[in-house]
Assembly symmetry: C2
Amino acid sequence: MPERPSGHDVPTGAEGGPAAGPAPLPPPPEPSHAERCRTLVASQSRGTLCTLAVEPAGYPYGSVASYALDADGNPLLFVSQMAEHTQNALRDPRSSFLATEPVPDGADPLASGRATLLGDLLEVADADRPDVRERYLAAIPTAAYYIDFGDFTFFRLTVRDIRYVGGYGRMSWVGAAAYAAAEPDPLAEAAAGIIGHMNADHAEAQVLLCRHAAGRPDTTEASMSAVDRYGFEMVAVSPAGRAAVRLGFPEPCATPEAVRKAMVAMVNEARGPSTAAGG
Amino acid sequence: MPERPSGHDVPTGAEGGPAAGPAPLPPPPEPSHAERCRTLVASQSRGTLCTLAVEPAGYPYGSVASYALDADGNPLLFVSQMAEHTQNALRDPRSSFLATEPVPDGADPLASGRATLLGDLLEVADADRPDVRERYLAAIPTAAYYIDFGDFTFFRLTVRDIRYVGGYGRMSWVGAAAYAAAEPDPLAEAAAGIIGHMNADHAEAQVLLCRHAAGRPDTTEASMSAVDRYGFEMVAVSPAGRAAVRLGFPEPCATPEAVRKAMVAMVNEARGPSTAAGG
């Protein structure tokens, strides 16, 4: 892959700027790719279904589909019997579903995350339909207009393998078992609010953390770019340039309140003896 | 397909409200599905490529790709040799490319247009590379950062069949020859500006057109919802409810100035004898 000018994909702080300060720190904890996939797929409700065309036979066929998820993160679709993708799946269940993170205006689309879930697309068994119906209506409220329309049927794509691409240089295959066992990030919905608050009201605290907890004593400005249960990422600015920095929380945080407490503890620690010595 | 509460897909004025006024008018001219496909595909620069996976073998594999178009509207892709979709296409060229219209905030995604272009994805021949490179850089200016990176290669998806879905109830298969021969709508980029201007400054003229040119004498409000080379669509409000109305231009319009002249002529005609009699 080409090298890009931004440090977007460099969460560990291992690259993205010249080394500065003392010996390198151990890499901070971060979500596994299985967790990143679960979080990405759970954050969206529409993607691209790929099936195998009846005619021209065997060609892969992409179509738009809304989806919900079952307890294991398998996509649940509600499709018309007349639709091409339904006819395709009835003939050959081999399918995939592509979910993509929204691309911010002006951003490079290939730097955003996407997950291709490969598996078999089969009609939902009668016994499972009440649960699936409830999950689908919760995810796609507008489906209430046609949920009981006779021509439509629920299908489940049972995942067997996932290709995850989190952006440049962050990609891997994720197995179905790891994906099913992973939990979506509990901070996913709150992340934008936490980032906005930290950058509006706590810029100085972030500089302190970069200087004293992230081994970048020459930091002059810092702003948060991402947060998840295990830690957060900042862009640290110094005379040498911009660098991506990740710090781990002392323990995983499931709520914004837990993040607030962890931040306070980390900033207090950064203000400790090392501040007196180095600040 | 389920019936939807809006008249989104009813461009001919043949449905969407009770019949009113004199005998039905002949259907106004509108773009063919081949033209709608060419316009949709030309309006975007990113979509979903579907290839056939090497492992698990034969599964359809969806991935994100930026694209340009050749003179016949075939997608041109610039892909890494290492990428899964490239390895897939090298093994089996059967592919498709899904392009979708952007979905307005809060709108039903299944009411927006999409086109699935099925065909064979093959490396571009050396002789064609300069032309393809130029087209790609014009469509994807940020590709300048990596256009000469050695690992990347141009591929062309030569279309053989297209599934077009313009929204609820507007769908068909479009052949490759019809697609290649069709021209993207010359007003595509100007349409939003034309619609904004007509609705801000010419609401009364639109009511007049609905009453006297579209056979809806009970219209009390009207606003433009779409415009293309052959005509335009309005939402007409009357005591009986809302209805979609389409009117054709006297002749196809290739520029906003041609639209302006056509509109003036149509409004003048609507103000003629029938105004005196019926208004």
